[in-house]
């Protein structure tokens, strides 16, 4: 607790507002906003002013204010102080709960304080906590209410802002308040001229106390402000203080704008509703409390005629409709439901309109019906179309049903009765009709199926009636054409489907007849004129069907094939089918295409009226066969010239195919011989060796080839020397499964080789004789002749000896030459 200082001392030291809390007219408590001290108003002044005069004057003034709850300004002057007290009731109508703003201004020097006065008589024994609570409540009230206070001191030019002002205008609490110029800059530009004008009016005293304007905050938000202004003057009528209470009304303003917009939309909606909106009393006259302008456009009666009671709305409703409709409306309103009724009204110009009235009751808290609100729509045209629709519905050839939400039949037409046979209103569709998704599927109740499936247009479904008879149809199902109303249309295609199937079968038969898998199909007459050519004639013959149709087949046929083609064509009897041997047709570039054809005589079939030529392009096969034949012939030729016989040994089944060579080379009659042809005729001396060798080759999984040369006994018993080569094919385990053998008769070859060898030997012998024997005597003769020519008597060899030597050598030479001749004759024999 802080020592209570005098109020003037407080005014001297405190820059912030202070708050007085008053418990009754004579006992005031002072509280500093930060709760640093509190105390009795009277005490302060007693302490500060011992003469009590100032205290009494203040007391008296305050008491008067409190009791009268009025605005008053009291100025108390002492020799050293000049204090002005301003009181301002915040809630003058609150009786004894009135609260005041009180400002205490030290006019002696700059300084002022704020006073918050609690209701009189409420706090007989206020204590410090209560003061503090009140102070906090004051600030909380400002904060919650969004109220800020500011003051402008004319004498000093000082400006004061309450803390709430700082918050509202987004100014840092430690900042100085705005100057007037700064403040003006913060005002929304659109509001600035008004505000400036306002400030002028303040200056000349003609100002209005209340003003609304917009401010732009530092964060560029636009906030709406409402300001209550109070100008205080001194006794000389000079303005001394301008005080403003500012409230942030942005939320209210925006809400109002929204409300205005909503109202505008509402009115726009009402005026644009294509019908009459109304509120009427639930009386017999349908007394209109409100009826929209649309009523005039629709009926020709202005709204005020109904609202001022000039005419009643009930009076323009057809009487015969009123009775039934009223009963229905009453029943709906009794159960507090909405109603929908159709009735006719008479327009001012005598026209009759069908209208649809949708309405509902507005009830008091006690449940009593207060008003009826509704919208009346002109449904004359809709009724007209409904009637047309009904006419179409009834006369449609399609089975049509209007179904409820659960598949109950609401309406059906005559076609539906005809198709479904047992249809009746209110019956459930699922009890009457079933659908089969496909031929083998189980029949499902139709409405149940429709709930799970969307029928595809153009698809034909099979249906079953209750009596298990079936029909085919296409479905169209429109869901919710009206609330809880569905439209089902079934087009009966049973007959059409049967016809189509007949047609399809006919087409299938036709296709089967004319195509049969052929590459090209022609239809021609007996003279060969083409009446049809299938599309792929272009691909095969490079002639379009259009080009070839109407021409004669003989134009394209190879001349060598004309005769056989014509003969076959002419020979065909009705429905006869014959095969035509391969024949050739020429392509435009001159290349021949080989065809194999089946001719079918369908001259008696009206859809064909001709002979069908199903043709298969066999050019590739023919060419291949020719190549094969050539190759085969060459192979056979090679075998013949090579003197080889071939055998193909199926080892698995132990079957041997003996090639023609065994007949042609070895002379065996193949029609008589079995698998043992070869083994039976191996020369007995070679047989063991050969069979052993071939067994070894067969059992060696790595052996691919076999070779042996041995003697083989020909069919005529003569012996042939053969070279036997074989190649084995083996399975994955290496077991030989096939052997191809080639047997070459090399008898002649071997004999020739032997002769050649002998001839060579003979020739060598002759050469040797010539080299050694012939030249020996010759060389001797030459040597002796040389010696003779020397005529050297010292050699020790006499001339006669030399001559004898020459003679001997000559004779020897003669004999040798004779021998050579004899050897040459031997060579000839070889």
């Amino acid at each position: 607790m802080i020592e209570e200082p005098g109020i003037l001392a407080i005014l001297d030291v405190i820059p912030e507002p202070v708050v007085f809390i008053c418990s009754d007219a004579t006992d005031y408590f002072l509280a500093y906003p930060n709760c640093r001290f509190s105390g009795s108003y009277g005490c302060f002044f007693v302490k500060e002013e011992p003469g009590q005069s100032g205290n009494a004057r203040l007391n008296a003034a305050l008491k008067k204010h409190f009791e009268n709850c009025c605005h008053e300004m009291v100025r108390i002057k002492t020799p050293t102080r000049d204090i002005q007290i301003n009181t301002n009731p915040l809630n003058p109508d609150a009786g004894e709960n009135v609260s005041f703003h009180i400002s205490l201004l030290n006019l002696t020097r700059s300084g002022h304080g704020w006073f918050w006065l609690k209701p009189l008589g409420k706090f007989a024994n206020p204590d410090k906590d209560e003061h503090l609570q009140s102070s906090e409540r004051f600030h909380a009230a400002q904060r919650i209410a969004g109220i800020g206070l500011w003051e402008y001191d004319f004498t000093t030019g000082d400006i004061y802002w309450s803390s709430e002002i700082y918050k509202m205008w987004e100014v840092a609490p430690e900042s100085d308040p705005y100057t007037l110029e700064e403040f003006l800059r913060k005002i929304h530009p659109d509001d600035r001229p008004v505000f400036e004008q306002y400030m002028k009016s303040v200056a000349d005293g003609s100002y209005s106390k209340s003003l609304e304007y917009r401010m732009i905050t530092p964060s560029l938000k636009t906030v709406y402000m409402r300001q209550e202004l109070q100008l205080y003057r001194n006794r000389d009528n000079e303005p001394i203080l301008l005080r403003g209470v500012v409230m942030d009304i942005t939320v209210h303003k925006l809400a109002n704008k929204e409300l205005t917009a909503l109202n505008r939309r509402y009115h726009s909606l009402i005026s644009n509703v294509p019908g009459i909106t109304y509120r009427c009393l639930p009386d017999e006259q349908w007394t209109m409390l409100f009826i929209s302008q649309e009523v005039e456009r629709m009926t020709g009666y202005s709204p005020d005629k109904f609202t001022n009671g000039e005419i009643s709305f009930a009076s323009i409703i057809f009487e015969e409709d009123t009775e039934a409709d009223l009963a229905f409306i009453e029943s709906e309103l009794d159960r507090k439901g909405a109603f929908l009724v159709d009735y006719r009204i008479r327009c001012a110009d005598g026209r009759t309109l069908w209208v649809e009235d949708r309405g509902l009751g507005i009830y008091h808290d006690n449940g009593e019906l207060a008003y009826i609100d509704g919208v009346i729509l002109d449904v004359t045209e809709k009724r007209y179309f409904n009637e047309k629709y009904r006419s179409v519905f009834n006369k449609s050839n399609n089975c049509m049903l209007v179904l409820g939400a659960d598949g109950e039949i609401k309406e059906y037409n005559t076609s539906a009765k005809r198709l479904l046979e047992t249809v009746r209103r209110a019956a459930c569709l699922d009890d009457l009709v079933f659908i089969k998704d496909n031929r083998d599927a189980e029949a499902i109740p139709l409405f149940q199926w429709l709930n799970d499936n969307m029928p595809a247009p153009g698809i034909i479904y099979e249906f079953q009636r209750k009596n298990a008879s079936s029909f085919f149809g296409e479905i169209e199902f429109l869901k919710n054409i009206d609330p809880e109303t569905n439209l089902l249309a079934i087009t009966d295609v049973t007959f059409r489907k049967a016809q189509e199937e007949i047609l399809m079968n006919s087409e299938r038969r036709f296709k089967a007849l004319i195509q049969e898998g052929g590459d090209v199909v022609f239809i021609l007459n007996r003279s060969g004129r083409l009446s049809f050519a299938s599309d792929n004639v272009e691909k095969v013959l490079d002639v379009s069907p259009g080009e070839i149709t109407g021409t004669s087949i003989y134009r394209y046929l190879h001349k060598d094939d004309h005769l056989q083609f014509e003969e076959r064509l002419q020979s065909l009897s009705d429905h006869q089918k014959i095969h035509l041997p391969p024949y050739r047709i020429m392509r435009p570039e001159g290349k021949w295409v080989w065809f194999s054809s089946i001719l079918t005589n369908l001259e008696s079939e009206p859809s064909v009226n001709g002979i069908i030529v199903n043709s298969m392009n066999i050019t590739d096969q023919v060419e291949y066969a020719e190549k094969l034949l050539n190759a085969n012939e060459r192979f056979v030729q090679v075998l013949r010239t090579s003197n080889e016989a071939i055998c193909d040994w199926d080892i698995v089944h132990d079957k041997v195919f003996w090639g023609q060579g065994f007949q042609e080379i070895f002379g065996f009659d193949l029609s008589r011989y079995n698998n043992n042809l070869w083994s039976d005729n191996i020369h007995p001396d070679d047989k063991e060796y050969v069979l052993k060798k071939i067994d070894q080759a067969l059992s060696d999984p790595l052996a691919e080839k076999f070779f042996a040369s041995y003697r083989f006994i020909r069919a005529d018993g003569s012996i042939a020397l053969i070279e036997h080569r074989a190649t084995f094919t083996r399975d994955e385990s290496g077991k030989a499964i096939r052997g191809i053998g080639a047997f070459r008769d090399v008898t002649e070859l071997k004999e020739s080789l032997l002769k050649l060898k002998l001839r060579n030997e003979q020739l060598e012998k002759i050469t040797w004789i010539q080299s050694h024997l012939v030249r020996a005597p010759l060389a001797k003769i030459m040597c002796l002749v040389d010696l003779l020519a020397l005529q050297d008597k010292t050699t020790g060899i006499s001339d006669s000896e030399i001559i004898d030597g020459i003679i001997d050598a000559s004779l020897e030479l003669d004999q040798i030459i004779r021998k050579i001749i004899k050897q040459s004759e031997l060579l000839k024999e070889l």
Binding site: S771, R775, K780, M782, C783, G796, I797, E801
Partner: protein
């Protein structure tokens, strides 16, 4: 170094003639004679004490032991002297000449008839240093 010369030929007349040409060519003043390979081999074996090399003029086609057989036998023998062979034959077969030169001791191949001039080419002592 003296080179002994041995003429091997089955024809006595030819042997005489060859002896004559050996002498005339200066190869040796008194060459030895043998009628076949066998005689020639025996003669060589009988000259074991000699170390002077022998030049043998060897005919091929001879009875008892022909020239080829003689060469085979010669290859199997070891002598204290070196033996050089010149084939002297009437054969004009190239195969005979090729065969002859396969023997390491053969240094020449002369087709008959022989002349002194032909034999003179074997008078160079350098031939007998190999």
């Amino acid at each position: 170094m003296t080179i002994n010369v041995l003429v091997v030929d089955d024809d006595p007349l030819i042997s005489k003639l060859h002896k004559l040409w050996v002498i005339k060519s200066g190869l040796h003043p008194d060459p030895l004679l043998a009628l076949n390979g066998k005689e020639a081999l025996e003669l060589l074996l009988s000259r074991e004490q000699s170390t002077d090399p022998f030049l043998i003029l060897l005919d091929i086609n001879m009875p008892v032991m022909d020239g080829w057989e003689f060469l085979d036998m010669l290859a199997k023998q070891s002598f204290p002297f070196r033996v050089y062979v010149v084939m002297v034959t009437s054969s004009c077969n190239q195969a005979d000449e090729d065969r002859a030169f396969k023997e390491s001791c053969v240094i020449g191949y002369i087709q008959k008839p022989v002349t002194a001039a032909v034999l003179q080419q074997f008078s160079n002592p350098a031939l007998y240093t190999r």
